[in-house]
């Protein structure tokens, strides 16, 4: 933590020093607004760490097209007002080339207008679909679409002949956006929702909620959340003797959540990017090499498990670098157009195919159906 502040400060010092100095190739300033602390720190902290690692690595290799990358990370603590202030600061004052983040949908939605007005590329690490739908010219996002995750789950349910489910979701943007999508997509896919519960993201006991779901006589639970509270649902459900399959969202993609749920997590099903199962991906899979490398680098550097959240920042950085390469230099407009033309970029979340109408670039194939086996993530073997 302390080190990160050090780097941020160093970035400031560098910013002020370089303002006057004329270098051969001006460094490209990239701002990042991440919830390193506060209620969304489980997203922001790995994102910030990932970005620092990538920037350092790239600069060691000589940067992109001769430009070094200068990273300015701001900790918003998940406060929209700070995100707004920092976005203004990064655009007006630091004159950054692009902004990575914010970590949460709420913050992203607040600074969408700022990015549009400042004509600065915003690569959000937040999941909500409203960020890129409708499309705003300068706003992109890297996490997969909720609707694709849900479709993937429904596909699996159909295979397992499940049609009556109970939905539990957390009261955050992620949870509620997912809930709305589930409600919309369920009828089309022949799924009946018998119970629909919302829980607090800071809850630490949800026995009452799962008891209600159990009483409804469901064939499976679909638990939609990105916060630690989701493991409590799993735990409590097993404790009250509810033995139906539990489906989770892609927000379950953090091994800490599995650890928190302990044995109860065994057999939980969820769609996710392939980072979590990088090691067991078949050889020759497009993403295998990149994922294994990211995982190894991150884990050896920070001594903690890599999560898909850090991966969102990884993809944002990767896309930006690729687009700069494609555009042939650091020209905002050219790079923006270049992102829209990027096809087949292999990232941690999947293979990105951007277009003018699709500022996310991922489809249902970005997801793999995973399960938990012996406390570890594993690819679900289809019977």
């Amino acid at each position: 933590m302390r080190k990160r502040i050090g780097i941020t400060l160093a970035a400031f010092v560098m910013a002020s020093l370089t303002a006057g100095a004329a270098w051969a190739a001006e460094p490209i300033k990239i701002g990042a607004i991440l919830s390193v602390t506060g209620p969304a720190s489980f997203l922001g902290a790995p994102e910030a760490k990932t970005l620092e690692m990538l920037a350092e690595e790239l600069n060691k290799k000589g940067g992109v097209k001769g430009h070094k990358i200068e990273l300015i990370i701001k900790d918003s603590g998940a406060s929209p007002e700070k995100a707004f202030s920092f976005a203004k600061q990064l655009i007006d004052e630091n004159k950054v080339f692009a902004i990575i983040g914010p970590s949460t949908s709420g913050e992203t939605m607040k600074i969408k207008n700022v990015a549009e007005e400042g004509k600065t590329i915003l690569l959000s690490c937040a999941a909500a679909e409203v960020i890129v739908n409708p499309v705003a010219k300068y706003v992109f996002k890297t996490p997969q679409k909720d609707s694709d995750a849900i479709l993937k789950i429904f596909e699996q349910m159909k295979k397992m002949k499940i049609s009556k489910i109970g939905v539990v979701s957390s009261n955050t943007g992620f949870g509620q956006a997912g809930k709305a999508q589930i409600e919309k997509l369920a009828p089309e896919n022949g799924i009946k929702i018998l119970a629909n519960e919302v829980y607090d993201k800071a809850a630490s006991d949800l026995t009452a909620e799962v008891t209600k779901v159990k009483a409804a006589g469901v064939e499976a639970i679909l638990n939609w959340s990105i916060e630690p509270a989701q493991s409590i649902v799993i735990k409590n459900a097993r404790q009250i003797g509810l033995k139906v399959p539990i489906f989770q969202s892609h927000g379950f993609g953090n091994i800490k959540y599995v650890e928190a749920a302990g044995e109860a997590a065994e057999g939980v099903l969820f769609p996710a990017g392939r980072l979590l199962v990088a090691d067991v991906l078949p050889k020759g899979h497009a993403q295998k090499e990149l994922l294994v490398k990211y995982k190894k680098d991150y884990e050896s550097r920070y001594k903690e498990a890599a999560s898909t959240f850090g991966g969102h920042a990884y993809d944002a950085f990767l896309i930006l670098v690729k687009a700069i390469e494609k555009a042939g230099g650091a020209d905002k407009e050219a790079v923006r157009t270049a992102i829209e033309q990027l096809k087949g970029v292999v990232g941690t979340g999947g293979v990105f195919d951007f277009s003018a109408a699709d500022h996310n670039g991922l489809n249902i194939d970005a997801f793999e159906m995973l399960t938990v086996r012996k406390g570890k993530f594993a690819i679900l073997k289809q019977k």
């Binding site: 630490s204 009250i240 928190a260 302990g262 044995e263």
Partner: protein
């Protein structure tokens, strides 16, 4: 069942409030942080040592932190105003929380279940209970019993009660009132830490899990009548159970709002607590 687990932990925080309130007249807003510190440090110690030892170490560490807080921030203030004490203890609470963030990071931690695993459950007359709930209730009951014995049957405990009844008179009888205040901080830190250790397998612990507990604990302390720890246990159960039933009527997200509304209601109607009469609230138990 969730109601009982929570009720117990609220009661423990409330008892912590009462111990300090009785000897000093201070409401220690950092009370919830002791629970967090207990849980967090137990998790840390558990990486190096077996569980019982880790819990013991965690309690000792928290107890020492309690003592340090009293010695550094409280002891040398001469008759501070209530407003000043409120602000100081709030400041301490923020400081502990932020230090925890920078020491332990943002991640959620938990101790393993004392017996069994997360899916073990015991059938108690048709209700499924995780054995940990029994641990929570059992350990808390023992802690309360030990405290009661301490205050009633030991010289030190009696001296502390003397201090709470009349500080100046106690001082005249040769009781070191300053040390008694330090002791009360240590005791309430220790009981908070014990509570933190036993519940954290169920509820998890995170750097910011202390503050909400302080608010609930205060609610319970008021509900039972400030200073009355026996009533606090009952009040804790009532609040815990009310909370867990409230979600059948209202969305879960409003759960905390409900318990706070109860607090406000009691403050407005019966500030002496539901169990206390306005005159009995003058009488102080441990």
């Amino acid at each position: 069942m969730a109601g009982i687990t929570y009720g117990t932990i609220y009661a423990i925080v409330a008892i912590g409030f009462n111990i300090i309130y009785n000897t000093t007249g201070i409401i220690n807003f950092a009370q919830g942080e002791f629970v967090m510190l207990g849980g967090m440090s137990a998790v840390t110690f558990h990486q190096f040592m077996p569980l019982p030892l880790a819990i013991l170490c965690a309690v000792i560490v928290t107890l020492l932190i309690g003592a340090i807080i009293e010695i550094v921030f409280i002891r040398w203030l001469h008759k501070p105003s209530v407003l000043r004490m409120i602000i100081i203890t709030i400041g301490i609470s923020i400081l502990i929380r932020e230090s925890a963030l920078h020491v332990w990071g943002e991640s959620v931690r938990a101790l393993p279940y004392f017996t069994g695993t997360s899916v073990t459950s015991i059938n108690l007359g048709g209700v499924y209970v995780t054995p940990q709930v029994l641990w929570v209730v059992g350990v808390s009951a023992v802690a309360v019993a030990v405290l009661t014995a301490f205050f009633n049957y030991t010289l030190l405990g009696r001296q502390m009660r003397a201090c709470s009844a009349n500080r100046d008179a106690a001082r005249l009888c040769g009781v070191n009132a300053g040390n008694m205040v330090t002791l009360s901080f240590m005791l309430s830190a220790a009981i908070g830490a014990i509570g933190g250790c036993v519940v954290c397998p169920i509820t998890y612990v995170q750097y910011d899990s202390g503050t909400p507990l302080a608010i609930k604990g205060f609610t319970v302390a008021i509900l039972g009548g400030l200073g009355n720890s026996t009533a606090a246990v009952g009040a804790g159960m009532i609040l815990g159970i009310l909370e867990s039933f409230s979600i059948w009527v209202l969305p879960t997200a409003y759960k905390e709002a409900i318990s706070i509304s109860i607090l406000l209601l009691i403050l407005f109607v019966r500030p002496s607590g539901i169990f206390g009469s306005s005159e009995a609230s003058r009488l102080k138990e441990f």
